[in-house]
């Protein structure tokens, strides 16, 4: 019979959780290990080697795809974060704003629809108006679907923040722009930062839209990786994957720690 002390404990949970974390990390660990395999055949281990990293870094198509992805993600992040910030300021702080709910829904629209539908829709519009520039197409589409990811943390931050600081600054005769730059902006920075990080990652990770809109010279990293996978697994791909896994680990850690500091500040 269960004793009074551990009624809230259920046997086996620790074991299930351990299995869960193994399930979560084992595949990634395996890719990292295989990336150091000298053998051309991924699954057959011969000896330790870093040669696939060298061949990955010398792969022109890969570097081209990385450049495209970084360009699109950087521009889309700036556009999406700016638009999200402006919208959040009006939607949360504005007085007597008409169509507030509607505007918020419009900003969050990309979250409410399956991405594949949006991608098809955008593709049709772009081909109708004859927009040819691959990079521009990607930037417009990415900016749109990244906006809600930037918007949500900024909105959360603005909602959790009291008006006292801004009012105090205004009372001390600070002009509006100064209030914004010296008070509001630093206070919402953690939200702004994690929003921008999210937007960047979502853009870097996107496959569906990029694959749909991709035209010559605008292949993004996930689309390129997809084509490599279709061509068959290769040790070079493992090296690419490992480098990206390490990069996202770093990025995630920075983003999560800034967000955590933001919540600890207690406004």
């Amino acid at each position: 019979m269960s004793t009074r002390h551990d009624v809230k404990r259920y046997p086996g949970l620790g074991l299930i959780s351990a299995v869960f974390f193994v399930y979560l990390y084992a595949p990634l660990v395996v890719v990292v290990i295989y990336s150091f395999n000298a053998n051309r055949i991924t699954g057959v281990w011969t000896e330790f080697s870093v040669k696939w990293y060298g061949s990955a870094l010398n792969n022109k198509a890969l570097m081209q795809a990385l450049e495209t992805s970084l360009t699109v993600a950087a521009v889309a992040t700036v556009v999406a974060t700016t638009i999200a910030l402006l919208a959040a300021l009006v939607i949360i702080r504005g007085k007597h704003v008409r169509f507030r709910r509607l505007s918020e829904t419009v900003v969050n629209l990309p979250l409410l629809l399956p991405e594949i539908v949006l991608a098809v829709a955008t593709l049709i519009l772009f081909s109708q108006i004859g927009l040819q520039n691959g990079l521009l197409k990607l930037i417009i589409a990415h900016s749109a679907f990244c906006t809600p990811f930037a918007f949500l943390p900024i909105r959360a931050r603005l909602q959790g923040m009291s008006l006292d600081f801004e009012e105090a600054a205004s009372d001390l005769y600070a002009p509006r722009w100064t209030v914004f730059r010296r008070v509001t902006l630093p206070l919402i920075f953690p939200g702004l930062f994690s929003g921008a990080m999210l937007a960047f990652l979502i853009s870097m990770d996107d496959f569906i839209t990029s694959n749909m809109l991709a035209s010559g010279g605008s292949t993004t990293l996930p689309v390129y990786i997809f084509s490599l996978i279709r061509a068959g697994t290769s040790p070079e791909l493992n090296a690419i994957a490992t480098m990206l896994i390490v990069a996202s680990l770093g990025l995630a850690t920075v983003a999560l720690s800034v967000a955590a500091r933001g919540t600890q500040e207690d406004l």
């Binding site: 990390y25 595949p27 399956p114 829709a121 008006l163 791909l237």
Partner: protein
């Protein structure tokens, strides 16, 4: 921009300027989403043109094609392919959601019981893979299940036939689906379990309820909102999954997402691609 910035201050009265802050988002969303969606809705009821395009005349054949095939003499023949794909997609998404639920509940409960620091670390560990590229997470599964991968090798060691293929089937698709979406389930479930009042479980026990009664009658009902929001967060993207069915399932079992992807990416067939959503 500055006008919107200080709408919080009591001094601002210039209405209208505030809308400048909303203008960019409306412009972007109109151009990239609203107008395209309206066009899609329009195209879905238009006629297919002679050269792969479409003509602007009202026609429901796009929708009819989902269920029927038009024969040479114009008779309609019921073709369930699309219906099967839709059904298969729904089942796959539902099973994914159910598996995520069954795995997330004990894990979230376990994490919620840990001391504060350990809790933060475990939540971080749950979130971490989610920051990694989706395609790489799926690729990792192709490696471990694929030919010469560690899982088939492991099974061979325990007497499974050699050359065992674990890839390109529904099970492989499912493994990767659960893998990619599970953090979306664990986090909301964890949040609602953490808010759970422990004294209620003790009360259930005091009233001679055992653990399973407490689980069924106290814990599950009280964490239902978290479980439901987790289910929505998993189910919706699972419906539109493209990469898992193509890469893990080998593209043999068509799903709605991969179907749309193929129709527009390769075949460019026109009207019937749209209403299938």
């Amino acid at each position: 921009m500055p006008a919107a910035a200080v709408t919080g201050s009591r001094r601002r009265h210039s209405l209208g300027l505030a809308y400048l802050g909303l203008l960019p988002s409306w412009l972007l969303m109109s151009f990239a989403l609203l107008i395209p969606i309206l066009i899609v809705a329009g195209v879905s009821v238009s006629t297919r043109g002679a050269y792969g395009g479409f003509e602007w005349s009202f026609d429901l054949s796009g929708y009819r094609q989902i269920l029927f095939n038009e024969g040479w003499t114009g008779e309609m023949e019921f073709t369930p392919q699309y219906l099967i794909i839709i059904l298969r997609t729904l089942i796959l998404a539902a099973v994914t959601t159910l598996l995520c639920m069954m795995l997330a509940l004990p894990v979230a409960y376990y994490i919620a019981q840990q001391p504060t620091h350990r809790k933060a670390l475990l939540v971080y560990l749950v979130t971490l893979p989610f920051w990694m590229s989706m395609i790489l997470r799926i690729y990792a599964w192709m490696i471990i299940l694929g030919r010469d991968g560690p899982v088939p090798r492991f099974l061979e060691f325990f007497g499974a036939p050699s050359g065992l293929s674990l890839m390109y089937n529904d099970g492989a698709t499912l493994a990767a689906m659960v893998y990619t979406y599970i953090p979306l389930m664990v986090l909301p479930v964890f949040a609602s379990i953490e808010k759970l009042d422990g004294t209620l479980i003790e009360a259930a026990h005091d009233l001679y309820g055992n653990r399973w009664v407490a689980l069924r009658r106290v814990i599950l009902p009280l964490t239902a909102p978290g479980i439901i929001s987790g289910a929505i967060l998993v189910f919706v993207p699972a419906l539109g999954a493209v990469l898992e069915p193509i890469l893990m399932g080998g593209g043999k079992q068509m799903m709605m997402g991969s179907l749309i992807q193929l129709q527009f990416g390769v075949a460019a067939t026109g009207p019937s691609g749209r209403p299938s959503r």
